[in-house]
């Protein structure tokens, strides 16, 4: 079977290339991975609103992801936890998420005064939880016009490792799936990066995830 099959143009980024792309995107724009309520937005971190609760005020927290590593179907990740399964057309992604919360009212040490400030300070001791995250999903194409569009990545399920009880695991998985899905959605690969001075890619099929590649089929405009 030829690469272009029934179409005239083929483009197939390998999972290693997509991981290089993830590394490039998240290294240049780390704020897409890092969210915190107690800093202003910068290249490194995106500001998010704190959790407001009666009688407490603002509860400050942060969510930090490591650069995701993708694996295209078939599964060659070596250790995707059950019950996750990688179906045809899907990719898996693994990352770590670091949850940080600045707990108010706690004493710093047995004899220290209660911490009552609403904004964390260097003296505020954060509580940090670092979790391994696995997810599965599929690339999604949004075409605006021939030669114009973008490819994004969406998650359908997430699995956290070694979290108990199950209800807490499910709750956290739901939360992390929404957050990591949002992170991946911000990686938008425009068709323009596949175009050149003398052609536009008119996507007709794909991406079809198989053979460790995301296969795109189309024509040239």
């Amino acid at each position: 079977m030829s690469l272009t099959e029934a179409e005239h143009v083929f483009a197939g980024p390998h999972e290693s290339g997509v991981n290089d792309l993830f590394t490039a995107v998240f290294t240049a724009r780390p704020r897409l991975l890092n969210y915190a309520s107690f800093v202003t937005t910068s290249v490194s971190v995106t500001n998010i609103p704190p959790i407001s609760f009666p009688m407490v005020g603002n509860i400050h927290y942060a969510v930090l992801f490591s650069i995701p590593v993708a694996d295209f179907h078939p599964d060659s990740s070596g250790g995707m936890p059950s019950p996750l399964t990688l179906g045809p057309g899907e990719f898996s992604v693994r990352s770590t998420v670091t949850l940080i919360i600045f707990c108010q009212g706690e004493r710093k040490g047995r004899d220290g005064p209660p911490i009552t400030t609403h904004m964390p300070t260097p003296s505020t001791a954060p509580i940090i939880a670092k979790l391994d995250v696995w997810g599965v999903g599929a690339p999604v194409v949004t075409a605006f016009a021939p030669g114009s569009g973008e490819i994004t990545f969406r998650l359908r399920a997430v699995e956290l490792v070694d979290v108990a009880p199950d209800e807490l695991e499910s709750l956290l998985e739901c939360l992390i799936r929404m957050l990591l899905d949002a992170v991946l959605q911000q990686v938008r690969l425009p068709f323009s990066s596949l175009n050149a001075d003398f052609f536009l890619l008119n996507l007709l099929r794909g991406p079809e995830v198989e053979d460790d590649q995301a296969k795109l089929y189309g024509d040239i405009v």
Binding site: L3, H8, L189, F199
Partner: protein, 267 residues
């Protein structure tokens, strides 16, 4: 497996050829020079149109039946004054009862002669190319098309007639030269007649192939740092990747001849 594999079949390659011809547009070049009393100015414009791509594994891209539309203009000027001295008729004065009557001084300034020649025509050709991809000194991936051969090149009857006329004119000039003139004239006539016949029958390309084989020209350049995403606001700088290696090949193992591009990247 490479980080990115891309392929086009012959249909898409032909579309790329047409797009490339449009992008290239009409190229023009002009120059002038002098040799003794002769001055020559010339200009040429050329554009490509039509044709299709035939991919020949493992690395040949054949452009078939492509038209080279060209226009030539050539002006040869010759300053007669440079070889024939200008001269002046002397002034003559005649004494008369009414005084001296003088003729005016008349000078002859030999003119310059210009012979303009303009010609437009179409050459249909089939040419084989091989792509040479390399990282140049400016950190750009440069794609050069290297001419492998010209299996077919056909001149129009008009171009062939002009070629024959040039041959006849040259032979007429060479023939009077003592001793070797007739030999040179015969050789010129033979060469121009051979080119003319080969041009009419399409075999001129075969004659030219040994001389143009290996010539190359740049068809594309891409900086090694490839922009994936442009900068977007103060907190989202541009995203680039490095193109670590780029290779081009023609592959027919899948049952269809395809031009295959493989690229390795790094963050």
């Amino acid at each position: 497996m490479p980080d990115i594999t891309a392929a086009v079949d012959e249909v898409a390659a032909s579309t790329l050829l047409a797009n490339g011809q449009t992008l290239l547009g009409t190229q023009s070049v002009s120059d002038s020079g002098s040799l003794g009393p002769f001055n020559a100015t010339w200009g040429a414009t050329a554009s490509f149109s039509g044709g299709s791509v035939d991919l020949v594994p493992p690395d040949v891209v054949r452009i078939t039946d492509c038209d080279l539309n060209y226009s030539l203009n050539f002006t040869l000027s010759f300053d007669l004054s440079s070889i024939i001295p200008d001269f002046c008729l002397p002034r003559i004065c005649i004494p008369t009862p009414f005084g001296r009557i003088c003729t005016p001084r008349i000078c002859i300034d030999w003119p310059s002669i210009s012979i303009p020649i303009s010609f437009s025509d179409v050459v249909k050709f089939t040419a084989d190319f091989r792509f040479n991809v390399f990282l140049n000194s400016s950190s750009e991936w440069q794609v050069d098309a290297v001419i492998v051969g010209i299996p077919f090149l056909q001149l129009s009857p008009a171009a062939t007639a002009i070629l024959s006329a040039i041959g006849l004119a040259a032979a007429a000039i060479l023939a009077p030269i003592p001793f070797i003139g007739p030999l040179l004239a015969g050789a010129v006539l033979l060469i121009t007649a051979t080119i003319g016949i080969a041009g009419l029958t399409g075999f001129l390309g075969t004659l030219l192939s040994p001389f143009v084989s290996g010539l190359s020209f740049t068809v594309y350049k891409q900086p090694q740092v490839f922009p994936v995403l442009p900068a977007s606001g103060p907190f989202d700088p541009a995203v680039n990747v490095n193109l670590d290696s780029v290779a081009v090949a023609v592959d027919g193992s899948g049952g269809e001849d395809e031009l295959v591009l493989t690229v390795d990247i790094s963050a």
